[in-house]
Symmetry: D3
Subunit: 330 residues, 6 copies
């Protein structure tokens, strides 16, 4: 039995049991989507976001696609991790001295992690072209932008929740300046979150499979006694469109540049109307996971670039499934 380690265990985790006879490793919340369109007077759609337990509620940073069509970041709050309220004013960042920074053209797809007592937001930002940005907050009111870890173009950054061997580690998916038809997962490390190096490739896209053109990181990695559980997204291109699915792999706990198992199967692929239709059809894109007791997982994912959705599993089920369908051992 795999055990989650070092995680913030959420007591009131949203939960539904798997249905009798369902043999799939991840199952959807019956009331999906949990956040629908027309969120408030500024935000038409919110999805691909991250949040954490904070005091007696959940607080996070949300991608909000506004009525102008552009995407920015907004603070959102929830009591139950099911019903959320988003602020109507986007986040305005400050620099290390607390001085206001000019807003960039866009920001999107934030992940949030508690690391050494502060909260870090990792998101796609506009720095000449799109690249990963890391920002820091203690109160979800003041957000300080740190140095860009990478040159553009880069997306889907996910910081590990603790230093490993004295170094911060981050996942990244380099891309081009448009909707890249390629994408691999790299891992990089840093002593100070200012200078990054020791880049390693840990997963490639896989011709003709569900991750045929791209694979990229998703939520913050989850530490277990069997290794780091990393949920990913993969993309295939069929003759009509891209399809985004959810995958997973397991990295070595002490050296995450070593991939122990990489699941050949997707865990979840667009099947429901709220996943197959909308602004960008056929997108399942996980960006946040809450961990409950007994390894219960509440997996939050964006669907169709429209909705925030929820699915469930347990660490055991996922890790067993990854091992059973490991493609490294073939």
């Amino acid at each position: 039995m795999a055990k989650v380690v070092n995680a913030q265990i959420v007591k009131n985790l949203p939960w539904e049991d798997r249905k009798e006879g369902d043999f799939l490793p991840v199952w959807r919340y019956s009331k999906n989507p949990i956040i629908k369109r027309n969120v408030n007077r500024t935000v038409e759609r919110t999805f691909n976001s991250g949040f954490v337990p904070f005091g007696d509620e959940f607080v996070g940073v949300f991608r909000g696609d506004t009525y102008t069509g552009i995407y920015k970041l907004f603070v959102g709050r929830s009591k139950d991790a099911l019903n959320f309220t988003l602020e109507e004013e986007p986040i305005h960042f400050v620099d290390k001295n607390g001085n206001p920074l000019p807003d960039t053209r866009f920001s999107y797809d934030p992940r949030v992690v508690l690391l050494e007592g502060s909260y870090y937001i990792i998101f796609a930002d506009y720095f000449a072209d799109v690249t990963i940005c890391i920002a820091k907050t203690d109160d979800f009111k003041t957000f300080t932008k740190l140095e860009y870890p990478f040159l553009p173009n880069c997306r889907n950054g996910a910081l590990f929740p603790r230093k490993i061997n004295g170094k911060y580690m981050i996942l990244a998916r380099p891309s081009d300046n448009a909707s890249s038809l390629f994408g691999n997962i790299f891992i990089s490390e840093s002593y100070d979150m200012e200078y990054w190096g020791h880049h390693r490739l840990i997963a490639r896209n896989n011709w003709a499979n569900w991750n045929g053109v791209k694979c990229g990181g998703g939520p913050i990695p989850i530490e277990t006694d069997e290794g780091w559980l990393v949920f990913t997204h993969g993309v295939l291109f069929n003759c009509n469109n891209l399809v985004y699915s959810m995958g997973a792999m397991l990295l070595d706990r002490d050296d995450p540049t070593k991939v122990l198992y990489n699941c050949e199967n997707f865990l979840l692929t667009p099947q429901e109307l709220y996943e197959t239709t909308g602004h960008t059809p056929n997108v399942v894109f996980p960006t946040n996971v809450l961990v409950g007791e007994n390894g219960k997982l509440a997996i939050y994912y964006g669907s169709a670039d429209c909705y925030t959705c929820l699915a469930f599993s347990t660490v055991d089920i996922i890790i067993d499934y990854i091992k059973e369908h490991d493609c490294l051992s073939k």
Copy 2:
């Protein structure tokens, strides 16, 4: 309070009030779509069309996509502006001498306007490539093609319903010979509807916004005491497809080449299944507006290149919203 001027006020305008708590400027008809598929033995789908009060009914010209896949124009009629009957034989045009013209390869997206006692149809026609055609009818039986106002490639023409300063005025969206990934709105003028000139650019596409790749005119402009209310469409390109939304702007009443306000927000974007799915997913495309009493507006739009749909608003709500979200003053 903005007042509609010079309009044919429709007494029995289809109408539903906005729902309590709905803060959006345009709201959908609860029984959408009003025209579904398999319209008759010739036409599989009708949408992006124009019609006007005519005698004791409504008569118009409809884009009909037939069972062969090609698109032609058909006369359609309705008693209530909700239930329509389309003819099964497409319109065959005559020249100025009343002689039959050969059918062109296709015709589509007609707008209809009463102007100086006659009805003008403005539509996309095949003249070497696609371009705007103007035709004239008094009885919706005989349709006379006038000179093409522009060289190809051009689409989305909308004639103003009266001469301004002695000149006819028309909106146009120049394009290329395919599904252009660009599009701006121009206005041109003519003394005689034969020779056109004094072309002016009035709106550009707007990077990364809902009208990121194209913006174009929609229904016939509506004259108000605050200016010409122009509904538009805008198009963005995400990584999977194009999304067509509805927008609006306000032009100077005496000189429509002057844009008073241009709404930064879309007014309506594909959200319902009849808009997000179908022949061309994610299309909301307004082409006709009926004006009722007290500034009530019945806005007809095509959805997904499949259906004819209806939405409501009032001149006041729209103009306030345009002013509140004006992007020219930023």
Copy 3:
């Protein structure tokens, strides 16, 4: 009244009568789709497949898109031609000597035909690039691959169910090595199923129509006393995506290189949510037909690269419709 000739007449053919007032030549089964997603522990989706009466049941070869995203062939069985069970292990082919062949990268879109006492599977296989493969079985347990009839790239092969003038005949749609934006139907012949020649073009794609970019063969041709009834698929490209519809034509019974009638209209186009949404939106793709008494036809088609669906018609209705809408006589 057209009569089906030489067909295996299915007694317990699934059937529903056409609805009162429905003027369309093909009508859908009310309980579509008949095979939904998550088919079994290996196959997520099955569609575009072929099967035949075999003993007291129906047996066939099914395209199965697995949880890895790749597509392979699986044996499937049914008692009623409505409920199917697929094997979880894909078919592994042998050569003419019965020796196992290595699995190819992928195989898809099989058709199945009884010919001279054996069952032939015609499908898209990987031979340097995609090309048509013919395999043979007597028991649906051992499948022997024959010589590839054509150089790549080629798809949508359909063998005729008997020799004509002493020669086997096959339909094929040459393509390129990707999602070709072109496609025409050719017919080729062979004395021995090893060497093929006398290639003839019988149908071309038709600009701006429902088969504007591609047309290709579908199920095994059905012999009638009026000629060979050939169901086809056609593809158009609109500004947002490809749309796959079903068509039909009638070939000369003694010389199928002669097209007697080619229907200008499609017979079925994506309209239902299970056709307009899914893995590949807007796909109706017929690959199998069962023939009942009195010319009743149960037409099986894949929808949205997701589901196996069923529609009905009769030989009479179809042939009348083809003649009424013939494009060759125009």
Copy 4:
């Protein structure tokens, strides 16, 4: 024998006789190119330009590609039509009231014509996208921009040197906003050079031939007693690049919308190193013709977007060749 009518006959026309045995209708100047690179301190390359006899010299407007890479218009002068001096400061236009206009992003490919006592410059200008601009000068010092005759995108305008039936006439090649892979020749008319209409298509590109993707107008049409002699350019696309060649046709003298003959053969195609290599390889692009005595023609063309070149022929040779190789009569 065809006779040039209404032309400015140039006495000191540059000239070389055709070589013995040369059967081609146009022959190159032996000292080509007449203007090489590094023209002056502003202009690196000049080509695709127009000029006329003016006083005792030749004056014209030249496309100058500067050391920044951008293309602007410059006044150029020559005593002998072989050696030219270009100004180092680009032309700055004024409006009808003589007020300076802001420079546009670029201007290129000017033609110059004497019409009703003034000189008109027709060139590609930036108006939202590229479109044809007409400017007027009497002294080649002050240049007044007139109304844009057409909506963008449009290029290769050529004004006729006199009114015909009371109307100005112009050739145009509509295009898209980039390097269009299509192009046809239209002719339009105007009473006042402000409002244009009565657009007619006079020549289409011709699949797989030298003008397979585009054809467009070139120099100012030359009036002869047999009709208007129009030199054109045509473009083919082979697997490696575009190739621009020179063609010609003959239009009815009283109604230039009627094409009398259209030459199926090109007249000149890139063969010399100064045509096949350079900034844009394989370009022969005629934009100016001087007429001498006895129908002698000095045809100036840009080569490889690098050089100004010269070729010779006579009206007789050209018109005979056009008639001999007419494609309309086939």
Copy 5:
């Protein structure tokens, strides 16, 4: 020492010795190109052609790109294999009964082989799309088209000069309907030149090398006691254009589907101005070889889709080079 077998040995073979110090396996004729532009009154360029000793001269079939831009086939003759005269009228084919066939849109890149006492022409022809055609002549006056061996799209056919194991064999390079960015070499066989089968892949394009996107057959294979010597072309795509080079491989004499050696190096790549510039820059494309005494080879190749060129080598030098740089043994 490799020995040519079964070849027509040409006594007066054009020849130049390799220059002192030249270490390359193929060397150019010092007077290249041997056929320049403006070949006659119909043909502007001739290249990529085939010819054979015939009586006391050389006769062949030549690709002629005419002054209209289209490419057809012409008979050409030479006394010395250096100076050629082409007919001005293209070849018009007849069917097996001697009845004239309609001209197809285009024909190009012919190879010519003496086989069982007749001459066969293998070329790219227009049959719905481009495909390989085989025609037969005994006198180079009457040319009879045989059945198309393959479905389109296919190019670069090369028949072997004799039956092997009782079967005709041909090389082919399947392609798409445009300038394919892929291409592999297949070999197929036939008992009767009507029905073809037993297709085998013998060479693939090779990522990032000189044959990175395509490889295809060239001249008629040359039989030696060490195997069939096959000259090929390979194509790479750099950031600016395609580059066509010459390669070679050695096939098993008794079973040419077996590749004995495949040369990793190109033998000749565009270096001279007549190869790097012209209608299609950077093309070296071998299509004909004459064999002299002592294994001397006169290799004819088209350059830049403009010129007919000549290079030399010997069977020994080539075969040694192929073995030395074999990529199969790596």
Copy 6:
């Protein structure tokens, strides 16, 4: 008068004076190209390379495009910086422990710099996709690969020849995984050449100019008392191909992230046949500069991806020209 600082002054610098009347800031060596094709038995072309004074000769690392078409790195030597000899065996790198590393798929475009007593090679290497690699050597015999400074995709790295404020600095041009049609220059810094950060954008491509689609760094920056002189390349895309030119800018000596002047004009653009024709037409690509006395510069550049060429200037002329044509002050 600008003065070069901290440079290795080359005594026997190749040199030619600027021609009388030549007003351009850079002039070509009259005997270009200095390295032609068929360099040795392995390398067909060498260009885009770097070398330095080493002992009594010049030694460097050269891009060699071999007869297989692939590009690798080779050691090259010269006595006079005009005549070079390249090794026939490519460089095989070792890791930090001196263990041999597997060869990567390709390596290209090396720059070489003397820094703190060792020689560093900065080149494009294959790490999942193309990225910048830094290697180190003391003897040009053993080459040790260091950590990749950046995630792919990245090219055109140029290390500064000394630490500035205690940090190594490098120029880079992020790109996509193919022939990117975008490219900007960034500067990054590192304390240890292992971890890099503080990325800053210093130059962007400039629409419609000579660097319209890309700009990137070139040779190692040259320190002067007025700032760092940085030669760059810029790329435009015309309708037929890409054109690569040479540019320059001046960076602040103490803080190179500050651009003092950026020259709006190119310094050298393809004009000579050895630049406009070849493997990749129209490429001038500077990668190495030798500094002589009195600020004399020998600028080595690759041309047409074929040749190594040489041009001259002086620090004074260049810096004056940059200032005169600075685009930052506009």
